[in-house]
Amino acid sequence: MENNGSVILETKSIKKSFGGVKALVDGSFSCRQGEIVGLLGANGSGKTTFSKIIMGLLHSDAGEIYIEGQPVHFRSPMDAMRQGIVMVHQQLSLIPDLTVWENINLGHEPRTKIGALDDETARRKAAEVINRLAPGLSLDRVVKTLLPSEQQLVEIAKALSKGGKLLILDEPTAALEQTQVNRLFEIMRELKSQGTTIIFISHRLGEVLEICDYVVVFRNGANVGTVRFEKDGRDENRIVSLITGKEESGQQNGAKDRIRSEEARLEARHLSAGMLKEISFTAHRGEIIGIGGLQGQGQEDLLLMLAGMIHLEKGELRVNGKPVKFHHPADAIRHGVVLVPGDRQKEGLFLNHSLFMNVIYARFGLRGDWLIPFKRLREEVKQVVSTLSIRTESLETEMQNLSGGNQQKVVVGKWLPLKPQVLLLSDPAKGVDVQAKRELYDLIRDLARRGTSVILYASDNEELVSHCDRIFVLYEGQIVEELAGAEITEDNLVAASLRATVKQSA
């Protein structure tokens, strides 16, 4: 059955660049009244940029937007809202110190005849939507005391309470549990039957297959195809290949030239902590292990746990065959397990201190000289600077005056004098230019060749595919699949990440 509702939204070749980066090359799209459309694409494919432009949060460089056939130019989200377009954002827009009902009514508070705030109506409106979406959640709770999933529900409730004919949901389910997702889907179906159009942005293919009428796939900033379930069937593989693209990608796996050793460096047995459940694996001497999967599935937590920053609740960890317990990063460092954290400015560096201080600080977790042997360390730091070709005026240069790539080199390089056994890397090439990225990975491979085992999380699949011997796919804190050898391709990795979502919600 074709949907014969009128066209609600139509966009024609929207373009948007940030600096030199083309985020959106050809954003063309249309949807009709009473449809649920899945908007899919890998990270950086342009879906979020696209929806922000529709909402008036960003201004397009070129292209046209039509709402019910009329051309529109939104200057701000208020303009879009007046046309009945409402969005639930990936980043929550709630005010932490206000209550649930106050947040839901924020920005469109009902007023009494004389213009005062009408709290009674406001509460009633909030109660209506909360009772359906999150029964049992008190309206008077302050938002900052809620669980992340409850906050997400309030965010959704806030959007729903505004009414609107087009609802854009950007990854609304990432923080939700299954029963909450089911309740949301019920409401979405009801809205649909009332004629509301919904654009559902998600990485979870399983959910998209369940709730949507059809999907539109973005890749590299362009609409690359539509799969109509009525006509084409719910063909998961076809969607995945649209998302990844058919061209052979990133086959130069650098792992090939290394000799694998069977000597176990790090053994994890049934590790659980927070969202991480039953993590078991062995990292061998000289091996580079990748941690993949969709964003936010516990990859960063896994590294923090191995580094002693998140405490184990259950399970056993061995380094070089010896059982170890890490109560603090200091314990991990003493056993040669070191971490390059994901946010170098907040977690990796002292920005207003010198390069020298930043490098030598890495040894302060170890027992050692109270008097700093400046002369020896100066030589050591110079060595680090030249090994990594860090571009700096002097060893006394403050970190904040170095470029992002050079800063990152310092975060990695500070561990070199300690000769780490296990190097944990959390998205080391994030925001780093191409050349620095290559130099970093050259160094990492070199360390592996000399026996360090490396555990690498990267948000960019290509980095994982080109450098890892094995890749573990994480989903909701569990290892759900392992890729090794010839299986390691970008397509397989994306497919495995998405497959996990289907298995779980089936």
Binding site: P329, R334, F364, G368
Partner: protein
């Protein structure tokens, strides 16, 4: 070697240049202090005489020791501040006086005892702040009130029986070589030790790291909470030492003798370039800050300004100085 490396070992003049770069920020308060001293000479002749300057420096030294205690916790970060430095100095002065009863021999018992007490009181501050997350302002203000109360309970409001020994009085208020006050030699030793420990040892650099970025310090394997708690303990111990010098300077102990120094100790540290955000600045600047503030007070007294006017001008000058400093350090 590739072109990226242009790092060379500092030698001779290069080394001096490097030290100048490191301590350059510390020079400003010294310069302002000198300007104030010269201005004072115009107000009242003799203000800039060597003798008077030495008196100024001697007064500054008492503040200066408390400023060190203050600087350590400010550098340790986490909105670090210690409003109990004055109270700890007071109670330790009283205890030292009661223990030594004017006898030189008992100095050897009194000094280690009060330093231990100061360390312990500071440690309570530190544990409250680092472990139980009590805001430093509240924790140390509360501690200050408790300590001052204890002194009142002990003395029952009467004069405290006890006094500084002869030797301590000589140290605190006497002078020797070329008429230079002994306290200045003591202060010089403290300055050298402080600059060395804070700038050249693992403990010192660790402290700066914890103050600059606690999370980074933790992930580098440093127990940041432990370091911060210890910073308050050492602040307490140094405050105790300052109390001993105060006793030597005054001869007799009295209640709340350290209290007037609390706010100037914060102001002098900040004027000296120690960032309230933590993790930056060095004690040499704070030494300059101590001298500057002492000189300013003396100048206002010399101008025969009444107590009210003195406080108004003092406060205004503080605000202006800090506003100038804030602009300078912002990027």
């Amino acid at each position: 070697m590739n072109g990226a490396m242009t790092v060379s070992e500092p030698r001779g003049t290069a080394r001096l240049k490097k030290m100048y770069a490191y301590y350059r920020g510390a020079l400003v308060p010294f310069l302002i202090a000198i300007i104030l001293i010269i201005a004072g000479e115009f107000v009242s002749s003799g203000f800039a005489s060597p003798n008077h300057v030495l008196i100024l420096l001697k007064t500054a030294s008492l503040l200066g020791v408390l400023v060190l205690a203050q600087s350590i916790v400010i550098i340790a970060g986490g909105e670090g501040i210690d409003l109990s430095v004055g109270a700890i100095a007071s109670i330790c002065a009283v205890m030292a006086a009661v223990v030594m009863q004017g006898e030189d021999a008992k100095l050897l018992i009194a000094i280690p005892l009060v330093i231990a007490v100061g360390f312990f009181l500071g440690l309570i501050n530190g544990v409250g702040i680092a472990v139980f997350s009590v805001p430093p302002l509240i924790m140390t203000l509360g501690m200050s009130s408790v300590i001052n109360g204890l002194v009142i309970i002990y003395s029952k409001g009467f004069i405290i029986r006890g006094s500084a020994s002869k030797l301590l009085q000589t140290i605190g208020s006497g002078q020797s070589l070329f008429g230079i006050p002994n306290m200045l030699f003591v202060w010089l030793v403290i300055i050298v030790i402080a600059l060395f420990v804070l700038g050249r040892t693992k403990s010192g650099i660790t402290l700066y790291g914890v103050g600059a970025n606690e999370l980074t310090a933790e992930l580098n394997g440093v127990h940041a909470k432990r370091v911060r708690a210890l910073a308050y303990a050492f602040s307490g111990a140094i405050s105790a030492l300052a109390g001993v010098f105060l006793l030597g300077y005054n001869g007799l102990p009295f209640m709340e003798m350290g209290s007037p120094y609390v706010l100037p100790s914060v102001a002098a540290a900040v004027i000296g370039g120690i960032s309230l955000a933590g993790g930056a600045g060095n004690y040499l600047g704070a030494v300059g800050g101590s001298i500057l503030l002492t000189t300013l007070t003396a100048l206002l007294v010399t101008m025969r300004m009444g107590e009210g006017g003195k406080q108004v001008v003092f406060g205004l000058v503080l605000i202006i100085l800090l506003a100038i400093y804030g602009r300078r350090t912002e990027r």
